[in-house]
C-alpha cells in the first residue's frame, strides 16, 4: 500500500519536489509582515506590494517548472567501477524546448533514492542546445550500482525555492572490489610459491626474445645501444618470460553476519592479489564459494575475475555447511599452480579475528594478516 501511495504521489507531482532556500524563508517572512500590515491598515498600496511579492512566488514556481521541463539526458558510464576509485562518467543534457532556455540547473545522480556524489551545474542551456558534462563517479561498495536516474534541480529564477524533478534513466554498472597495494611479505610469499615453467614468450626474464624499434612509453633502460648505434634508430630489446606460473585464488563465501566487514576485506585482498599476479603473467583461476572460473590470463580474464568478486555474496553458515561452503566439495586441482585461499571466517571458533586469513598452498603466510 505505501508503495502504491508513493507511486500515486509521484505520478501526481510528476517527481517534483520543492524546498525553500534561506533567502526564500526571509522573503516569505517579509511577505507575511507586509500582509499583516496591509490587513491591519487597509492601505491599498500595501496590498499592491503584497501582490507583487505573491506574484514573485507564483512566477518562481512557474518559471522553475518551465526550466525543468523537456530536458533530455543521455548518460555514458564506464564498463566497470572500482570501489573508492573515481571513474569518468559523461552526461549529455539537451534542452528540448524550442523557445525557452533553462537556467541554473543542478544535476545529481540518483541511486536507491539518494543523491550520489556532488552536483553538476549548468548555468544556462539555450533552447535546442545540448551540453556534455564529464564527472567523476565514485562507488563506495562493490556489487551492482543501480542508477535510478538524474535529479535535476533549479533555484531559477529568484533563488527563493529549489525545485527538483526526477528524470528516470535506469542503468547498472558493476563495481569491483577495492584494489590496494599488497604487503611486501605477502608478495614475496606469493612469488616464491609454486613450480616454474619456462615458456617461449615475451616476459620479464633475462634471455633475449626480440629487438624492435623504440616506442613512446618504453623503458629507456631497455634500449639496445649497440643496435641503436648501428642502425641510427632507437631500438629496444624484449626479453623472454622466465617462467609461467599458475595460481588458484579461492575466496570462501560462508561467514556469519558479524564477519561481513571481514568478508569484504577478504574480497578486496583477493582482488588485489589477482591484480598483482595478473600483472606478472600468472595463469589464474578464481574460486568464489561454489563457483569458479577457468584458468586464463590477460586483461579480459582479469576483468572477468574482478567481476566474479564484485558480484559474490556472503552466505551465512548453517549446519553442515561450514566445510562445504568454505572449501570446495572436491579438492581443487591447482594444475601445478599455487593455491591461495583468502578466508574471512575459519569456523565457529573464529570469533573476533582482526584480518582475513591467507593460506598459500595450505600454509598460513606469516604477517599476511596485514596484507593490504
Amino acid at each position: 500500500m505505501p508503495l502504491q501511495y508513493s507511486s500515486f504521489t509521484q505520478r501526481l507531482f510528476r517527481g517534483r519536489s520543492t524546498r525553500i532556500t534561506s533567502e526564500g524563508v526571509q522573503f516569505l517572512l517579509f511577505t507575511l509582515a507586509i500582509g499583516i500590515a496591509a490587513i491591519n491598515t487597509g492601505n491599498n498600496l500595501f496590498y499592491l506590494l503584497l501582490a507583487m511579492m505573491l506574484s514573485l512566488i507564483l512566477i518562481s514556481g512557474i518559471v522553475a517548472e518551465h526550466s525543468l521541463r523537456r530536458l533530455e539526458f543521455h548518460r555514458h558510464l564506464p564498463d566497470h567501477l572500482t570501489v573508492n576509485e573515481p571513474a569518468n562518467a559523461t552526461l549529455v543534457v539537451k534542452n528540448g524546448k524550442s523557445r525557452f532556455p533553462s537556467f541554473s540547473l543542478r544535476l545529481f545522480d540518483i541511486s536507491e533514492g539518494r543523491e550520489l556524489g556532488q552536483s553538476l551545474e549548468i548555468r544556462q542551456l539555450l533552447p535546442g542546445a545540448s551540453r556534455l558534462l564529464s564527472y567523476p563517479l565514485v562507488a563506495s561498495r562493490r556489487g551492482r550500482l543501480q542508477l535510478d536516474g538524474i535529479r535535476v534541480g533549479t533555484e531559477f529564477p529568484f533563488g527563493l525555492f529549489m525545485k527538483r524533478a526526477l528524470y528516470p534513466i535506469d542503468e547498472t554498472v558493476i563495481v569491483c572490489p577495492e584494489l590496494k597495494p599488497i604487503n611486501e611479505r605477502l608478495l614475496q610469499g606469493l612469488l616464491t610459491a609454486g613450480p616454474e615453467q619456462i615458456v617461449n614468450r615475451r616476459g620479464h626474464g633475462n634471455d633475449l626474445y626480440n629487438l624492435r624499434l623504440y616506442q613512446a612509453g618504453d623503458d629507456s633502460r631497455k634500449i639496445h645501444w649497440p643496435t641503436t648505434a648501428r642502425t641510427s634508430q632507437l631500438t629496444v630489446r624484449e626479453t623472454e618470460a622466465e617462467d609461467q606460473r599458475r595460481a588458484v585464488v579461492s575466496v570462501p563465501t560462508v561467514a556469519p553476519v558479524s564477519h561481513d566487514a571481514l568478508f569484504e576485506q577478504a574480497v578486496s585482498i583477493a582482488a588485489s592479489i589477482i591484480r598483482v599476479l595478473a600483472q606478472r603473467g600468472y595463469i589464474l583461476q578464481l574460486v568464489v564459494g561454489s563457483s569458479h572460473s577457468v584458468f586464463g590470463q590477460g586483461d579480459r580474464h582479469f576483468l572477468e575475475l574482478l567481476r566474479m568478486l564484485a558480484l559474490c555474496e556472503r552466505h551465512p553458515p548453517h549446519a553442515g555447511s561450514i566445510l562445504s561452503g568454505n572449501q570446495p566439495r572436491e579438492p581443487l586441482d591447482a594444475q601445478g599452480g599455487t593455491m591461495i585461499v583468502v578466508q574471512s571466517w575459519l569456523g565457529p571458533d573464529d570469533i573476533e579475528p582482526m584480518h582475513p586469513t591467507i593460506l598459500i598452498d595450505g600454509a598460513v603466510i606469516a604477517g599476511a594478516s596485514h596484507a593490504v
Binding site: E23, Q26, F30, I34, A37, A38, I39, N40, T41, G42, N43, N44, L45, F46, Y47, L48, L49, L50, A51, M52, L54, S55, L56, L58, I59, V63, F100, P101, F103, S104, E121, R123, Q124, L126, E155, F156, P157, F158, G159, L160
Partner: protein, 730 residues
C-alpha cells in the same frame, strides 16, 4: 555585461528607486536626501568603472569597524531624532533607514550585504506607500518591481560563484570580461524583462483579487488636508482672494449624462451667509440637523426651499470626488435634494448647506441629486412679496452704510417693476461697469464696499456678490451670499469637471416670492483666467488628471465593496458582467479613446497641431525606446569590440599557420573550408595534425561560434603555432 556587475547595477537601481519613493513621499530633509543621492551616484560610478571613483573605492577612507561605529552612531541619532528633533517615530525611522542605506551602499561586499540592502529598500518602498496615495507611486512601484525582478534573478545566477567566497566590488571591474562567471546574454535580457512584465500583470491580478478584510470606515489619512477658506460660519470680505491663486485640485465632478453643461459652468454650492456687518459675513442660521437616511442609503433633505407645490427645475445628478479639505461642507450643484455616499451621517442647516460630521481626512466620493430653481411666471408680475419678520431679519439685514449705496441701488432699479427685473438690473450694472481683478486689497479698509462701488470699481467675486446682496437688500429684495466653487474646466478625456482652489467663488441667491431662491452671479468674466495660448500642455494636464483619477479609483480606493460588486455582477449573469467589465474597461481606457476622439474633433476644427506635437513626441520616444531595446547598439558595440580583439589574435595565428603550411607545400584554396583543410593537412603532414587541428578549432570557435577565448587558450594556440614552425618539412 558580467553577472556580478549587472547585479550591482540592479541593486543600486533598486535602492535608488526606493530612495526616490521615500523622498517624494516623506519629504526627507535636504541634507539627508543629498547625502543618500550622492552615495547612490558614487556607488553607481564605482560599478561603472570610473577610474577616479574606483581609486576611492580601492582605498575607502573608513574601515569596516568605522562603518559599524557609524551604524551605532546612526542608531543613537535615531533615538535623539525621535525624542527631541522629529519627536515622532516614523520620521526618525525613515532618517535612520537612509543612514543604513548609505552605509550598505559603501559596503556591498558579501551576499549578506546585498540582502541587507534589499531589505532596506523594501522597507523604504513600504514606508513611501504608507505616506502617499499620489499617482507618482505607480511609476516608482513599477520601476521597483522591474529592479526587483532583475536583482533577484541576478542574485540567484551569481549564487554559486559567490558561495565559495566573497567578491570585492572592484575586482570584477578590473577583471577581463572573459574571466567573469557569466554574462547577461540577449536571451537573459529578454527573459528578465518578460518576467518583470509577467510579474507586473500577475501583481495587478492578485491585487484586485486579494480579499480586503480591513473594515475601515474612511481610508486612512495621508498628510494634511487641503486648506481652503470661505466655508466656515464667518467669512471676512476678501478671504477667498488668496486661494484664488492656488491651482490645487479640490474635487472632480462627473455628471450623470457624461456631458458638459450647456453653459460650460457648474456652480457647486457650499455655504450661504445672511448677515453682513460691513466687513464680515456670518451665517446666523448655522444650527444643523441630521439628515435622515432612506432605505436605499441616500440622505434626503426635507423641507422644500421652493414655495412651488411641485418641483419644476432641472435635475442634475452628480458624482463628486472630493479631496480632503479642512471643511466638513459637502459641495454640490444648487439645490441639493439627496446625497449618497459612505457616510455615517449627514447634516444640513436651514440655508441648504450640507455637512459631514467632521472634515474627512481622505478623498471621499459621493453622489448628489440637485434641482435648479426656474423663475416662475408669477414672479414676473409687479406684485411685491410679503415675508415674515423672521425671514426679513435674516435676508434684508444691512449694516450701517453710507447713503450713497441706497441712492445707487434706487438709481439702478428705479425703472424696473418686479423684483426679478431689479435683481437683473443690479447684476447687469455690476457686470458691465466694474472690472475683475484679484489685486484688490479692500479688506483692510474701513468701508470696503463703498470703496469698491464708488472708488476702485475693481474686485473679485466676493466684492461683487456682497455689493449685489447689499444693493438688493437696500431695495427690499431678500438675498444672501453663497460661497462655493464655479467649475469651468471640463476634462474631455475623463468627462468630468476639474475643480481647483482657484475656482472658489461667491455668488448671490435672490429670493423671489413664488420661485424661491434663484442663483445670480454679478461677477464679470475674469481676464486673468484666460486660457493659455498653448493648449497642448493643458490637454496633457487633463489626460494626466484623468489617469490620476483612475489611479485613485482603481487602486487607492479599491475596497471590499468594489470586490463584492464584481462578485455580485458575476453572479447576476454573464451578460451584465460582461457589460460591466466592458464599462470598467471603457472607463479605464476612456482617456485614450477620448484622446483619439479628441484628435478627430480637433482635426475637424483645425486645431490638431498641439496634440499632434505631443503625440508625435510620445510616439517617437516609444519608437526610440523599442528600437534601443531590440537593437541594443551599446551591447553590440561591446560584443563587437570584444569579439574583434579575440578574433584579431586568433585570426592572425590562423593566417600565419596557413601561410606556413603553404610554404611547406600544403596551400589552402579559397574554396577549402577550415575543417577540410585540417584533413588535407593531416593527409599530407601527419606530424603537424595536432597543432593544425587545435589552432583551427580555436579559430572556428571564435570566428563562427562567437565564443570568446581565454588568455590560456590564446597562449595554447601560440604554442601550437611555434611547435608547428619548429617541425621539419613533411
Amino acid at each position: 555585461m558580467p553577472f556580478d556587475q549587472a547585479l550591482r547595477f540592479a541593486s543600486i537601481w533598486l535602492a535608488a528607486t526606493s530612495f526616490i519613493g521615500l523622498t517624494l513621499g516623506a519629504g526627507l530633509p535636504g541634507w539627508l536626501a543629498a547625502l543618500t543621492g550622492a552615495a547612490l551616484i558614487v556607488a553607481f560610478l564605482r560599478n561603472g568603472g570610473s577610474k577616479s571613483v574606483e581609486q576611492f573605492a580601492m582605498a575607502p577612507p573608513i574601515s569596516t569597524a568605522g562603518w559599524n561605529l557609524l551604524v551605532i552612531a546612526g542608531f543613537l541619532g535615531f533615538w535623539i531624532d525621535m525624542l527631541w528633533v522629529s519627536d515622532e517615530l516614523l520620521p526618525a525611522g525613515i532618517h535612520f533607514l537612509m543612514v543604513l542605506m548609505i552605509v550598505k551602499l559603501f559596503n556591498l561586499k558579501i551576499r549578506r550585504d546585498y540582502l541587507h540592502l534589499y531589505a532596506i529598500s523594501l522597507v523604504a518602498i513600504l514606508t513611501s506607500g504608507s505616506l502617499t496615495t499620489d499617482l507618482w507611486y505607480l511609476p516608482i512601484f513599477s520601476l521597483y518591481l522591474f529592479a526587483g525582478v532583475w536583482t533577484l534573478l541576478l542574485f540567484q545566477l551569481t549564487k554559486h560563484t559567490e558561495e565559495t567566497g566573497t567578491l570585492t566590488p572592484s575586482a570584477p571591474m578590473r577583471a577581463p570580461l572573459h574571466q567573469s562567471a557569466g554574462h547577461v546574454t540577449p536571451q537573459l535580457f529578454w527573459l528578465a524583462n518578460g518576467l518583470a512584465l509577467l510579474t507586473f500583470s500577475l501583481t495587478l491580478a492578485i491585487f484586485f483579487a486579494i480579499p480586503r478584510v480591513s473594515a475601515g470606515f474612511y481610508q486612512k489619512g495621508f498628510g494634511e488636508n487641503i486648506r481652503t477658506s470661505g466655508f466656515s460660519e464667518t467669512v471676512n470680505l476678501g478671504e477667498i482672494g488668496p486661494i484664488k491663486r492656488d491651482p490645487s485640485v479640490v474635487m472632480r465632478v462627473e455628471l450623470s449624462d457624461g456631458a458638459r453643461r450647456e453653459a460650460g459652468r457648474l456652480y457647486l454650492r457650499g455655504v450661504a451667509f445672511d448677515q453682513y456687518d460691513g466687513k464680515t459675513w456670518t451665517n446666523r442660521m448655522n444650527y444643523r440637523r441630521t439628515v435622515s437616511e432612506d432605505g436605499t442609503g441616500s440622505f434626503v433633505l426635507r423641507g422644500s426651499r421652493s414655495p412651488a407645490q411641485t418641483p419644476l427645475g432641472e435635475t442634475i445628478r452628480q458624482n463628486i470626488i472630493l479631496e480632503p479639505l479642512d471643511t466638513p461642507v459637502l459641495f454640490a450643484a444648487p439645490f441639493i435634494e439627496t446625497v449618497s455616499g459612505k457616510f455615517p451621517s449627514v447634516q444640513s442647516d436651514p440655508t441648504g448647506a450640507v455637512y459631514l460630521p467632521f472634515p474627512s481626512s481622505s478623498r471621499i466620493e459621493y453622489s448628489v441629486l440637485s434641482r435648479s430653481t426656474p423663475v416662475l411666471p408669477a414672479d414676473l408680475s409687479p406684485e411685491p412679496g410679503r415675508y415674515p419678520e423672521s425671514f426679513t431679519r435674516h435676508f434684508l439685514q444691512t449694516p450701517v452704510q453710507s447713503e450713497r449705496i441706497t441712492v445707487l441701488a434706487k438709481d439702478i432699479t428705479q425703472t424696473q417693476r418686479t423684483a426679478y427685473e431689479k435683481a437683473n438690473a443690479i447684476q447687469s450694472f455690476l457686470i458691465h461697469n466694474f472690472r475683475y481683478s484679484l489685486d484688490a486689497p479692500l479688506a483692510e479698509l474701513d468701508h470696503p464696499l463703498e470703496e469698491f462701488l464708488f472708488s476702485r470699481k475693481t474686485g473679485y467675486c466676493e466684492h461683487y456678490a456682497t455689493a449685489m446682496v447689499m444693493l438688493l437688500r437696500t431695495v427690499g429684495i431678500p438675498a444672501r451670499l453663497v460661497t462655493g466653487f464655479l467649475a469651468t474646466e471640463w476634462n474631455e478625456y475623463g468627462n468630468y469637471y476639474v475643480v481647483r482652489q482657484q475656482d472658489a467663488h461667491a455668488w448671490v441667491e435672490v429670493h423671489l416670492p413664488y420661485s424661491g431662491w434663484i442663483t445670480m452671479d454679478p461677477t464679470p468674466p475674469s481676464i486673468e483666467n484666460a486660457p493659455d495660448v498653448y493648449p497642448a500642455w493643458h490637454a496633457l494636464g487633463r489626460i494626466m488628471d484623468t489617469v490620476r483619477l483612475q489611479w485613485s479609483r482603481f487602486f487607492v480606493q479599491y475596497s471590499a465593496a468594489d470586490q463584492l460588486a464584481v462578485v455580485r455582477e458575476l453572479k447576476a449573469g454573464s451578460t451584465s458582467a460582461r457589460n460591466k467589465a466592458f464599462d470598467s474597461m471603457s472607463a479605464l481606457f476612456s482617456p485614450v479613446l477620448a484622446m483619439f476622439g479628441g484628435i478627430t474633433k480637433y482635426a475637424a476644427t483645425g486645431t490638431i497641431r498641439p496634440l499632434v506635437e505631443v503625440l508625435a513626441i510620445l510616439l517617437i520616444g516609444i519608437a526610440l525606446l523599442l528600437w534601443l531595446g531590440i537593437k541594443r547598439p551599446w551591447v553590440k558595440g561591446m560584443v563587437g569590440k570584444r569579439m574583434t580583439r579575440n578574433e584579431e589574435v586568433i585570426a592572425q595565428l590562423y593566417g600565419r599557420m596557413v601561410q606556413h603550411l603553404a610554404g611547406e607545400g600544403i596551400p589552402k584554396r579559397t574554396t577549402t573550408g577550415p575543417l577540410e583543410f585540417v584533413h588535407l593537412a593531416q593527409a599530407k603532414w601527419n606530424d603537424a595534425n595536432s597543432a593544425v587541428a587545435s589552432i583551427t578549432e580555436l579559430y572556428c570557435r571564435t570566428r563562427f561560434g562567437h565564443i570568446p577565448l581565454t588568455q590560456e587558450e590564446l597562449s595554447l594556440a601560440e604554442d601550437h603555432l611555434r611547435h608547428l614552425m619548429a617541425l621539419d618539412k613533411p
